[in-house]
């Protein structure tokens, strides 16, 4: 049975052979794969520029075999803005986590989306800072325990979870704003379709396409990967409901 003619799923060549540094079960790996598959299927490896963030995704450039810019924390949309405006025939996307996009880089993402930059934004929301060891993120849930909210996120002290995707959907510069996830085959396939649509949009001068992926951080959440998926379903989705917010 193991013959090329029977092959129905294999690792895309747009992924490098490097073993990802992500923890077991981390959603980053799944989303990396989906972006790589979309790039592969669209045949745009030689026309794609990725912008990696600061956070766990910083080493995305080790895993996708495309040209990359590694941005300072939160600044990826600014880099992408110039890269795209100066090279309009290129597909430019940013890959950012919740700290990068929704905390330190709030200004850059809001303004890039408001200008309607013809870029793709992939936003990974796992409600925690993974890279630095599990501190509170802007999207951390009320009551959620993190390294800097050891007694749970307290509204009086820390404010509310920031629903930045809902804010971004209000901006006239965006053409496609969606929230997806990747915990089972159905959601993974839906997310892939969303990413593909976002990449296609970026060449149609329609404005910014923004794909949030609610993901897990089993290390930060201190759960097994399978339990983290369940915790995400029970706790994250009520706060961050899935689906398209805008699709023009």
């Amino acid at each position: 049975m193991i013959k090329p003619e029977n092959l129905v799923y294999s690792r895309t060549k747009v992924l490098t052979e490097n073993i990802m540094h992500y923890c077991p079960g981390c959603s980053h790996g799944t989303v990396h794969k989906l972006i790589a598959e979309v790039i592969d299927e669209m045949g745009i490896q030689d026309k794609t520029i990725g912008v990696s963030p600061v956070g766990c995704g910083v080493f995305a450039y080790n895993y996708l075999d495309i040209d990359w810019l590694e941005a300072a924390h939160g600044r990826a949309p600014a880099l992408a803005t110039a890269a795209k405006r100066l090279n309009p025939d290129r597909y430019v996307f940013t890959y950012q986590g919740d700290g990068d996009l929704a905390s330190i880089g709030t200004a850059e993402i809001m303004h890039a989306c408001n200008r309607g930059e013809n870029i793709v934004v992939i936003f990974i929301n796992n409600a925690i800072y993974g890279m630095t060891g599990g501190q509170m993120a802007p999207t951390t849930l009320i009551g959620q325990v993190t390294a800097t909210t050891p007694y749970g996120r307290n509204v009086e002290l820390n404010g509310y979870p920031l629903k930045i995707t809902e804010l971004i959907a209000q901006l006239p510069g965006t053409c496609y704003v969606t929230r997806q996830t990747v915990y089972n085959p159905v959601t993974v396939r839906k997310t892939k379709r969303a990413i593909r649509k976002a990449f296609e949009n970026s060449m149609m001068k329609k404005g910014t396409s923004f794909v949030e992926v609610v993901g897990t951080c089993s290390s930060g959440w201190k759960l097994t990967p399978v339990d983290a998926n369940q915790w995400m379903i029970d706790n994250m989705f009520p706060e961050y409901p899935l689906g398209d917010m805008k699709d023009i």
Partner: protein
């Protein structure tokens, strides 16, 4: 012979015009006094309709400098302009650009600080421009224009050096040169590089989309392996040494027989040039050394002059920043003092002469 074009222009305006004429691909900036005319001029001239140059008002200086990163990495000629508080905001981006070895041009039309300070001219960002500003071991190549003509000339030169050494270049001007009008001979018009030209010149490093024929290119300043990071730092040191060897620029005025020397750059050098005339009328053998590059600094030129000198006065519109580099060059052999006005105050040639005479009297 090519027709020469002359215009009466503000320093800030000529920056914009020179950029368009030298084939610049993009400007990204944020308004701040006293340099807003740079972007205003660009917006008025609409180069995107002629050369295709992109001009964008960013949401902040933080975004502007990071837009430079995004543009420079694709091999495009990009620049920004700002003034002191804005440059402080760009410090992060500058060190990332230097760390990723990306070429770009930053124009700093300096105003007085610290903090929000004043909107009047100053030279109090010398340390920031030449010693870092951002974190980590890095240098900018710093050009110090002393006229509107040099504002024009240094745009093209700045891009040339930036791409030659893959390093950010700063034009360190000030509110006086930015705002004053002078006759300028405009540079000849050069077309923007085509994508093919960029590929040919800089195809070995630009981030442009990876063809199957090469490894992927990554513009990054991140290296977790200490041994590799140290090696990279040493590579930068070697590059800066090369820049120092090849690109140190300065001007010597009446130095041949000088017994006393003023070292001054930019606006202060203009003022001091008049001081030299006044001093010579009085029979004082005063010369002027004007650093044109502040990094690399013309230390050797100062060193070589030192044996014939009795003392040196560093004149700068700061409380004493460049004077430290003069002292390092002179290395204690003769007295070096500082004279400066700050907070937007501009010294007159007479008061500089007075400072020179005081120094001579005391030594």
């Amino acid at each position: 012979m090519e027709k020469r074009e002359y215009k009466l222009l503000k320093g800030n305006e000529v920056i914009a015009i020179a950029a368009i004429r030298c084939g610049c691909d993009g400007y990204f900036g944020y308004p701040i006094t006293p340099q807003s005319e740079v972007m205003e001029t660009l917006m008025e001239l609409k180069p995107w309709e002629t050369t295709g140059m992109v001009v964008l008002q960013a949401e902040s200086e933080v975004a502007s400098i990071n837009m430079l990163y995004g543009g420079a990495a694709t091999g495009k000629k990009v620049f920004t302009s700002s003034s002191s508080p804005g440059i402080s905001l760009m410090a992060e981006g500058l060190t990332y650009l230097a760390g990723a070895e990306l070429p770009c041009l930053i124009v700093n039309v300096v105003r007085g600080g610290p903090g929000l300070g004043t909107i009047q001219p100053a030279q109090s960002d010398y340390f920031q421009a030449t010693k870092g500003g951002g974190h980590g071991d890095y240098r900018l190549i710093v050009l110090a224009p002393a006229s509107v003509q040099e504002m024009n000339d240094f745009v093209d030169l700045g891009f040339e050096l930036a791409f030659k050494y893959r390093n950010p270049v700063m034009i360190l001007s000030d509110g006086m040169i930015g705002q004053m009008m002078e006759k300028v001979e405009l540079s000849p018009e050069k077309p923007r590089w085509t994508n093919e030209e960029i590929e040919k010149k800089y195809g070995s490093w630009i981030v442009k989309g990876k063809p199957s024929t090469r490894e992927r290119h990554i513009a990054t300043s991140l290296e977790l392996d200490s041994a590799k990071q140290e090696k990279f730092n040493q590579k930068l040191v070697a590059k800066y040494a090369e820049v120092t060897k090849n690109e140190t620029r300065y001007e010597k005025i009446m130095c041949d027989d000088a017994e006393y020397l003023i070292v001054a750059y930019g606006s202060s050098a203009r003022i001091s040039q008049k001081t030299i005339e006044l001093a010579r009328e009085k029979g004082i053998k005063l010369g002027l050394l004007r650093p044109v590059t502040l990094f690399p600094y013309p230390s050797k030129a100062i060193q070589e002059l030192t044996p014939q000198l009795k003392c040196v006065l560093a004149v700068e519109m700061s409380t004493g920043q460049m004077v430290e580099d003069v002292r390092l060059a002179v290395n204690g052999k003769i007295p070096v003092e500082h004279y400066g006005r700050v907070g937007g105050m501009i010294p007159s040639p007479e008061e500089v002469l007075n400072a020179v005479e005081n120094l001579i009297e005391r030594k």
